[in-house]
């Protein structure tokens, strides 16, 4: 055990150190921030799919709506960034609660379809409501000053704030998964009827998982608005829900680091390929989907972990 744990710890440490010095070594901070926001989004999604066993096809609703709320709070209400982010997160949690109450009774494909339908309704609201700027979205959202003192308009400052939030959330997710509550989630995933017969009201636990996941997804969306300065319809579109699934699937559903890795790959691909191959981006993403489903369902990180497990089993 200790060997692998050590390896994992070292890997995390190296990655964290790398993240700390990223702006110094010339990585474009806005890109890394964007990546971190999506990584957080994917981690939040994975909390639901990977650690509770529910596939939501509507997570863009939380991400996108929170993005709008944050943009609106800052732009139209002139609220400070920390309040705006909190507002976005809370609203996402609330939508998560509503979605959850409707969808949680169903499983598998039905659950996916219902979340998709509900998310379509949120999309519709964002398209129609006056505060979202319709097709144009909210543009030019200023970053403002964090807690009235820290000027976020500098990319470097913003970067460390985002990094801090990400690390805290990542640790929070690991904590949730291993907490007493996380143990119950694991039971539900493994054998739901048994969990029920032990006296756990599984729907309530699932609902909480859904709300937690929605809140974190919302937080990711809010942060993204702050980083990029806009919230648009593509944040709430169903293809965004598809993208976050891809990120988790690619990295490894049910692993901690998988979604981060998956988000990194997807965002980097989109960034690098978009100009070079045009419409082929879609094709490439499609191919990744197909290959993931056919060849490595556990995802990259998942396969690595499985390999380590096998090696350990042999040793």
């Amino acid at each position: 055990m200790t060997n692998d744990a050590k390896l994992i710890r070292i890997t995390y440490f190296v990655l964290f150190a790398l993240a700390l010095v990223a702006p110094v070594i010339g990585l474009y901070p806005v890109f890394v921030m964007k990546l971190l926001c999506f990584a957080l989004f994917a981690c939040a999604f994975n909390l639901l799919l990977g650690f509770t066993g529910l596939l939501s096809f509507g997570h863009a609703a939380f991400f996108g709506f929170a993005a709008y709320i944050t943009g609106y709070c800052i732009k139209s209400q002139g609220l400070p960034p920390e309040v705006a982010i909190l507002a976005g997160t809370l609203v996402a949690a609330f939508i998560g609660l509503v979605f959850g109450l409707v969808a949680i009774r169903r499983q598998g494909i039905y659950f996916a379809m219902i979340t998709l339908a509900l998310a379509q309704m949120v999309y519709f609201i964002c398209l129609q409501a006056s505060f979202t700027g319709g097709e144009d979205g909210l543009q030019g959202v200023p970053r403002g000053k964090l807690l009235g003192m820290l000027d976020l308009s500098s990319d470097t400052t913003m970067y460390y704030v985002v990094l801090a939030v990400f690390v805290v959330c990542f640790l929070a997710i690991t904590r949730i998964v291993t907490s007493p509550y996380g143990q119950v989630l694991k039971m539900i995933r493994e054998n739901e009827p048994r969990a029920v017969s032990l006296g756990y009201e599984v729907d309530k636990y699932k609902l909480l998982a859904f709300v937690l996941s929605a809140s974190l997804a919302g937080l990711a969306g809010s942060l993204k608005t702050l980083v990029m300065g806009f919230a648009t319809l593509s944040d709430v579109h169903w293809s965004m829900s598809g993208e976050v699934i891809l990120m988790s699937l690619l990295g490894g559903v049910g692993t901690f680091f998988g979604p981060v890795f998956g988000a990194g790959v997807v965002i980097a691909l989109q960034d690098l390929l978009a100009d070079k191959v045009g419409a082929w981006v879609t094709v490439i993403i499609g191919v990744i989907f197909v290959v993931c489903v056919l060849a490595f369902r556990k995802g990259v990180v998942g396969e690595v972990r499985a390999y380590l497990d096998r090696r350990r089993a042999r040793a």
Partner: protein
């Protein structure tokens, strides 16, 4: 005379138009329902296959001068074969796994198909003329209904009824229905179930393609025409009850009409009304209108 403050004329007109759209929903959801029933796969690629059907017709006309009527037969065949290839090379490997993988795989496939056609033909759309035989329109008194649209309704009803008959009244249909309940046992009776599954997927794809060919003269043929529609068609299938054939046909037509009427009362909501209906239905009847209780 007015109904809910709408002139009767307009009301009837919207009803008829709703039926036309419903005809497409019905044809597409029919194929989805059959595929879901037998393969336990939510075929996200259905919209893409519909698009490929429309493009096949357009390419045939544009490059080879093959007219609509031949296209109506050939395009579904081509796409059916494409479906067979997809089933053999990809879906086959997913049987027995969580159905969610099927959903994700076909989602990937639809991205691929869409991307390829986007690269080839752009997105602005190609125009396909209404076949001469059906040009013109008929005055129904309350509205002028283009002959071609009337044809679409009739054609789709014929196809739906034909499929329904095939499945409910023939031997092959009995295999299919039995196969949805217990495919292994049917195979143990000596029925070549893998072949049947393959042909079912091919058939579902062909149905989607036929809907695509029928749609081509009405709307612009674009690589995105399927992805815009597929989410709605999913909703139709879920409302009708996954895997229920008759359910999806009736629901398809019904939702077409509801959507049409929404366009009169509150046009902005027309693109979301289907989802509202879906949520309401699922709260009241979790298995869908015609679905069997789990």
């Amino acid at each position: 005379m007015e109904i809910f403050g709408i002139p009767l004329q307009a009301f009837l007109g919207q009803l008829v138009l709703g039926l036309v759209n419903g005809a497409f929903y019905a044809m597409l959801s029919l194929g989805l329902a059959v595929i879901f029933g037998l393969l336990d796969i939510v075929n996200f690629a259905h919209g893409a296959l519909y698009m490929v059907g429309a493009f096949a017709a357009w390419i045939m006309l544009d490059k080879f001068g093959i007219n609509f009527w031949f296209a109506l037969v050939i395009a579904p065949l081509i796409v059916g074969v494409l479906g067979v290839i997809i089933e053999r090379t990809f879906l086959k490997r997913l049987y027995g796994l969580d159905p969610l993988y099927g959903l994700l795989l076909t989602f990937g496939l639809s991205l691929i198909l869409e991307g390829v056609f986007r690269d080839q033909y752009g997105v602005s759309g190609q125009s396909y003329p209404v076949p001469d035989l059906l040009a013109g329109a008929t005055n129904l008194g309350f509205m002028v209904l283009p002959n071609y649209r009337a044809f679409v309704v009739v054609a789709s009803l014929v196809v739906c009824l034909g499929t329904w008959y095939l499945i409910e009244r023939t031997r092959l249909g009995a295999y299919l229905r039995a196969g949805t309940e217990n495919a292994k046992l049917v195979q143990a009776f000596g029925v070549n179930v893998p072949l049947m599954v393959m042909l079912t997927y091919g058939g579902g794809a062909a149905l989607a393609a036929m809907a695509g060919v029928l749609a081509a003269p009405i709307i612009q043929v674009t690589p995105l025409m399927g992805s815009n529609l597929i989410i709605v068609v999913f909703a139709v299938v879920v409302i009708g009850g996954m895997g229920s054939i008759l359910g999806s046909v009736i629901t398809g037509l019904g939702l077409g009409v509801i959507e049409g009427l929404t366009r009169v009362f509150y046009p902005e909501a027309s693109s979301v009304v289907v989802f509202v209906v879906m949520v309401i239905v699922l709260i009241i009847r979790p298995a869908g209108l015609f679905g069997k209780e789990a």
